[in-house]
Symmetry: C2
Subunit: 179 residues, 2 copies
C-alpha cells in the first residue's frame, strides 16, 4: 500500500510518501514541503498548493491520501488557512479517484508513538526509527506528513480496500458515467 | 464589469452573476445554488463544489469572483466546511487568472442596505430592488451571492482594474511563463 500523507498548511504543507503493509517494515519513497509565499494573495497560494500536491501525486501515484483532520478549536489565526490547504489536497485526490482518509493529530501520535500526547520530537524520533532514516525529517511538517502516512497504513487495511472501491464508484457517479 | 458572487458552503453554495458598473443600473445574469449531499465523504463534496463552480465560470465568464470572507468565530460546526468550500471557489478562479476579492458579511450588508447589521430579509429585499427582480431570490444563500457581486461592483472600480492586472501577472509567473 502506497500512501501520501499531507500535513496541511498554507505557509508549509508537509508531504510524505510511505509504502508498506501493517506488520512489515515500511519504506519512505519521498518527503518534502510545499511552500507558498505569505505576500501572495490567498487564491494564488491555494493554486500553488494545488500545483505542489499535483506534482507529488504525479510522481508517486499513491493509492491513498491521508490528511490531518483540522479542528477549529486550534489557533484561530492559522486554522482557516489550514482548513483551506486541506481542502485543496482532498480535492486533488478526489479528482483522481484516490480515497482520502482524515486522521486526527492524536490518532497519528498514538499510532506512531503509543501515546496521543506525544510531542513533535517524539513523533520525529519514531518516524526516523520506523522508516530507518539517518536523521529526523525537517521541518516538523515533513515528519508529521510521514507519520500520517504510517498511521494510515497501520489502521484497518480491510476498511481501506472498501473505501478505495467506494471512492472509485463515487467518482464515476459524480462524472455522470454510471449515474 | 461582470462578477460572480459566491456565498460558500458545502451543503448550499450560493452563486450569482451580476453585470454593471458603479452608479448605473445593474443586471442579474444568473443565480443559483450548488448543493452537495451531506452523506457523501468530504473530498467528494469538495469535488462537487468544484464542478459546480466550473460550470458557472464556463457559462458566464466573469471578470471577477467575489467570495464571502469566512471568520472562524462563527458557528464552529459549520465554519470548517465553509472555509473549505471557499477555498475551492478561490482555486477555480485563480486557475483561470480571474481575480478574487473577499468581502466580509458586514461589508456586503453595508453596501446593499446601508447598514452592516441588516438581516437576511433586508438584504433579500434590497437585492430584489437593485436588480429589478419580481421576487427575492431563494434560498437566502442565492440572494447573498448576488449581494456579494453587487458589493464588489460598487467598491473601488479603479482598484479592481489594478487587481485584475496583478492577478494575470501572478498567474503567468506561477505558470513559469514570465518568471
Amino acid at each position: 500500500m502506497r500512501v501520501l500523507g499531507v500535513d496541511p498548511g498554507l505557509t508549509r504543507c508537509g508531504v510524505g510518501v510511505v509504502e508498506g503493509i501493517a506488520g512489515r517494515p515500511l519504506t519512505m519513497l519521498g518527503v518534502g514541503v510545499v511552500r507558498t509565499p505569505a505576500d501572495v494573495d490567498l487564491s494564488h497560494r491555494l493554486l500553488a498548493v494545488e500545483q505542489g500536491i499535483e506534482e507529488w501525486l504525479d510522481e508517486h501515484r499513491p493509492e491513498f491520501v491521508a490528511v490531518e483532520r483540522v479542528f477549529s478549536q486550534h489557533n484561530v489565526r492559522t486554522v482557516m488557512g489550514t482548513a483551506q490547504a486541506s481542502a485543496v489536497a482532498m480535492l486533488c485526490a478526489a479528482r483522481r479517484g484516490i480515497p482520502v482518509a482524515l486522521h486526527t493529530p492524536s490518532e497519528v501520535k498514538a499510532a506512531v508513538t503509543g501515546t496521543g500526547r506525544a510531542d513533535k520530537a517524539q513523533v520525529g524520533a519514531m518516524v526516523t526509527r520506523l522508516l530507518r532514516l539517518s536523521a529526523p525529517p525537517r521541518p516538523a511538517d515533513a515528519a508529521d506528513a510521514l507519520a500520517l502516512a504510517i498511521c494510515h497504513i497501520w489502521r484497518a487495511p480491510a476498511q481501506n480496500r472498501l473505501q478505495q472501491a467506494v471512492a472509485r464508484h463515487t467518482l464515476n457517479a459524480t462524472k455522470g458515467r454510471t449515474a
